[in-house]
Symmetry: C2
Subunit: 408 residues, 2 copies
């Protein structure tokens, strides 16, 4: 017996049949004796439908009214799920963000949760009810409806789990857990039993888009055990937890990659203080996100800069950099959009030396030229030619024995 928060996203509640399937899953857990709080998103497609209506009214719809509009999406889902649960003989009660007192600040369309009043929920759970809460939304101190922005339903679920001191927060998605790498690239990719919050953050930011980074950060901060599972199949999914409680002791947990990197190099920059700012400042001012940055000293008087941006931003970044190059009296600007980033992630790196050299050995053995290297405490990333992506991922997966369960 425990208290669990289940979160189902838009695809999981996208049709009448899927809502009924969710109801069956929740009912089974409830009948086994667990207390269940369900957080739901809007049915898939609904948010787009409402956004389209809004845009017909106003090019940039008023944020406050946008929140009033979008929040109806989860309200529809939560009432339908309660009906489906009641139909199965499972007593259930729904609450909007405002009704359950998820109090947020007043930053419409991207509000932050300030506090949650758990009284009503605990009373309902004690009375044997399933509680269904609208994800993504809250209410500010003045009583205006707010929404939490992208991935807001995950955030609601984690915040509720923290407030209710739930045993686990289950995030139901269309994948059955977190994998050592993308199974479409490496068929031997294996579902991880567990992963640490930090690893998950690195994996998520590197393109494994299972969970919103914000909800993972939130879960880490409030020590909420997160579990990623599939809505559509059985299975234990992947537990995202603190390092100390991690079952696996692998050196690295997974291989993430990003196909959208484009590389820019400016050479022969006079090596004076402020050169980095003069080069990267105008790029940032144009709202272009810079990923990796590398600076080499070329000779005594000049230096070379290389950095990567999203491929969509390459053209504008190049134009800005060319202008900068002229004003700085640099030598040349070159670009390469046929690059990708491959990263190995794992908390094991902290205590094990030689992981970087093992990675580089793999690349040397496969004759893959490394163009850039960047490291953090639990991650090593390299930029390589895009044609080597699959080869690199599979070679690393094999070399670090990710296909083998470390617990056995």
């Amino acid at each position: 017996m425990g208290l669990f928060v289940y979160k189902f996203g838009g695809t999981s509640v996208g049709t009448v049949e899927r809502i009924q399937a969710v109801a069956e899953k929740v009912k089974a857990a409830h009948e086994s004796g667990d207390q269940i709080v369900v957080v739901v998103s809007a049915m898939s497609g609904e948010t787009n439908r409402l956004t389209d209506l809004a845009k017909e009214m106003q090019k940039t719809p008023v944020a406050r009214e946008m929140d009033v509009l979008l929040s109806t999406g989860e309200q529809v889902t939560m009432s339908l799920l309660c009906m489906a649960l009641t139909n199965l003989g499972c007593s259930a009660q729904s609450y909007t963000g405002g009704q359950v007192r998820i109090v947020t600040d007043s930053s419409h369309t991207k509000a932050r949760i300030k506090r949650i009043d758990d009284k009503k929920i605990h009373a309902d759970l004690s009375a044997g009810k399933v509680v269904v809460v609208a994800g993504f939304q809250g209410m500010d101190e003045e009583g205006s409806i707010t929404t939490l922005g992208r991935g807001g339903s995950d955030t609601t679920a984690v915040a509720l789990a923290a407030a209710l001191k739930a045993d686990e927060c289950h995030i139901y998605t269309d994948v059955d857990g977190v994998y050592t790498t993308d199974p479409r690239v490496e068929p031997n990719a294996r579902r991880l039993e567990s992963i640490t919050f930090e690893e998950m953050l690195e994996m998520a930011s590197l393109g494994s888009k299972i969970l919103q980074i914000r909800s993972v950060e939130f879960a880490g901060k409030y020590n909420v055990a997160l579990r990623v599972l599939s809505s559509f199949s059985e299975g234990r999914g992947t537990l995202i937890t603190y390092e100390e409680s991690a079952v696996e002791q692998a050196l690295i947990s997974g291989i993430a990659f990003n196909r959208d990197e484009a590389k820019l190099t400016i050479t022969g920059v006079p090596d004076i203080p402020g050169a980095a700012f003069k080069i990267l400042g105008p790029i940032a001012d144009a709202n272009i996100e810079i990923d990796m940055i590398i600076q080499n000293v070329a000779d005594d008087a000049t230096t070379d800069f290389t950095f990567t941006v999203h491929r969509n931003d390459l053209e504008s970044a190049k134009a800005i950099l060319t202008a900068t190059s002229e004003s700085l009296g640099a030598k040349s600007v070159t670009t390469d959009e046929k690059t990708v980033k491959v990263s190995i992630v794992g908390v094991g790196m902290r205590s094990h030396a030689g992981i970087a050299s093992k990675m580089f050995e793999v690349f040397a053995d496969e004759n893959i030229n490394i163009q850039m290297i960047s490291t953090s405490e639990i991650k090593i990333s390299v930029v390589i030619d895009e044609k080597y992506l699959e080869l690199a991922v599979r070679a690393l997966h094999a070399a670090f024995e990710l296909d083998k369960d470390p617990a056995t």
Copy 2:
């Protein structure tokens, strides 16, 4: 300068274009210096869509969750209207029933308004904003969403007008006012400048379905001046008001009719106490609404009963009546479904004798046989053969000079 509550029904806000047209109308009124509170219904079709979804979940959806679901309809409209208004440069703010504190009892799907907190609205109006409120919904003392049942948006508008002490409550519909009779039957039918609440109630209950009876009763009780106007054209509509303030002094205000009457007669009923209850009780028990009832004494020992029901209920009523007839030892049961009811309505009847005889004279002149007669203080109804309906309406319209404006 005044304070007005405008109510727009589902057809008036049924499309993006119509919501924009409503915004134009509201903006014009606001710019002329009036304070405007707008009450909106769900976009036409939306309530059916949601109801269909609910029925897929549960044959008889839980009432509390049904209210959660249906209340999203008005929430969508109100936010879209606020966007459209803001887009026109007209500052606007929306409120759900719960947000504006329309407190109701907890009778889900048919709640009654207990009180309204007008603080927020007055503050917004004073700040120069248009206030848009979701019709049809409220919140009970526990914070659960409730809905007011059929015609609930009219009720919301009237209740708000009463609470805010508005100068007038405008109900925008797809007709441009209340007519002396149905213009499809009598092309000379004339729009009334004003009509009393009592007359409106009689007209409405007799089949002129412009306003929900409940909102008219409500308006009468709280002395709210109601005006019925068209959303789609200009014009002053019809003011529904107290008798003393009525401009027109016509003997009768209008002619209502009902094509759905079916007549049942039971003859030779032993004239004993309780006979009426024995005959009509089983009909009422079967949830069949009885309209007109007439009892004649046939001879010393027996009596005849005639009553009308909706045509859809004729077959079941006949079966019940036949069973009753046998158990009472009555003579016969006859039915007629080719009947209609025609009524003249007017507060002028109170102070003028001879109106009934004038009506009967018209029927005599036209050779129309009257089958049943029923009268109230401000209404005389007759049941006639359906083939005479149009003739009767036109003859009465002419005889009572309803095509002429009494004010001129």
